[in-house]
Assembly symmetry: C2
Homo-oligomer: 235 residues x 2
């Protein structure tokens, strides 16, 4: 059809898809390990997440270089161009997810000095499991080019926001009960916030993936709010 | 020299530079207004920052579209390609700075319900002024193509990190003194963290700008650490 050999462009795009898949798998394993390190005070596991972040950065650079070379070489139009630019953006979101997991991992030692209440650890693990389901699904559905799934994935992010608000309130009550909890709880607050932000990046990926596949924007269905900025805590 | 008309490519790059300048100015005004809204409990000013974020997003899309069209149309090589890709990355960092200012603005009402200690407001304003100096300088020096300034700008980010650690500790003491401060202080903690992250984005811009101008990476001079994740608070 166009100026380029179609199969070869598709091959290169397939390679970029595989890099997205790799980055998605790495992001998910970093999130899993960071939360496990956090709740079990496993400093060595936390360190592994921190060093994985360099691998993530390298993969993003590789994807960016390939994608930009592809644009410069092939001058793709319309859907092809959308796919390549979309991949660059998705890689940016996946790299940010890795950063956020690294930030959780860095807090392992600060939190580990105190004892996290068991209920709280459970809440954070639940939140993490929700985020991981979303992350794995968005990469799967993108690689399988299932555009219909994207709207549901974006809508499901609201559950993570609700959970975050609950964790935020729970953390405030622990701080109010006993000032000795305050330091650890502020670090856990940042960890919970990071999970909530990972959810937002998954939403970005879903929106981008939908646009790549359909050329349309997902209709805006809800304002993105961090509800804790409006709510008072449950006292 | 190349395939493209040199002046015209430079014109288009000049246009992209002006968009970077616009985004930088908007980012700086959003940060200024968000902190002013926070310390003076000015909900209307906070709302203005929140709506400015849509303007920022639109400018980023405009820059991205122009830059990608330029790559596809001109197939720039080496330094030209670096400049266009660098601009896309810098725009991404500026957009994130706008997001962080918006997040501060969203917390105005939650913090405003309590009275922020005057000392604390002063600390946050000082931190904000440091961040703004860095932000304005990095855009100025990039547009003026002063590569030598970039290493100093990156090094100066360390002062912001030190200030953030001080604010973090100060906030913890207010929380420990009086549990009624906890809710407001957790929001202020996120605001301070957002300022620290804005500093990190300025560092990214400095690194990118240096690479655009020289084709070299700035030598890695320090590990990026959020020191609060290691330190116990001043009790």
């Amino acid at each position: 059809m166009g100026k380029h050999t179609v199969t070869s462009f598709d091959d290169e795009l397939g390679h970029i898809d595989r890099l997205i898949r790799d980055m998605g798998d790495l992001a998910a394993s970093m999130v899993t390990a960071s939360i496990q390190a956090l709740v079990s005070s496993d400093a060595a596991l936390g360190q592994r997440v921190i060093s994985d972040d360099a691998v993530m950065d390298a993969r993003q650079r590789e994807l960016d270089d390939r994608a930009i070379t592809l644009i410069a070489k092939r001058q793709p139009m319309a859907q092809d161009l959308r796919a390549v630019v979309g991949a660059i953006r998705m890689a940016g979101d996946l790299e940010r997810i890795g950063d956020l997991a690294k930030n959780i991992a860095k807090r392992v030692s600060a939190v580990g000095q105190s004892s996290t209440p068991r209920n709280l650890a459970h809440s954070i693990e639940t939140m993490s499991a929700m985020v991981l389901d979303q992350l794995n699904a968005v990469v799967d559905k993108y690689v399988a080019r299932e555009s219909d799934a994207m709207q549901d994935l974006r809508a499901a992010d609201e559950k993570i926001d609700v959970k975050y608000t609950a964790v935020f309130r729970e953390l405030l009550t622990y701080m109010m009960e006993d000032p000795r909890n305050i330091t650890a709880c502020t670090h856990l607050l940042f960890c919970a916030k990071n999970l909530e932000r990972i959810g937002d990046h998954v939403t970005n990926i879903a929106e981008n993936a939908y646009y790549v596949m359909t050329g349309q924007q997902l209709p805006p269905n809800r304002p993105k709010l961090d509800e804790t900025s409006l709510a008072s805590p449950a006292a």
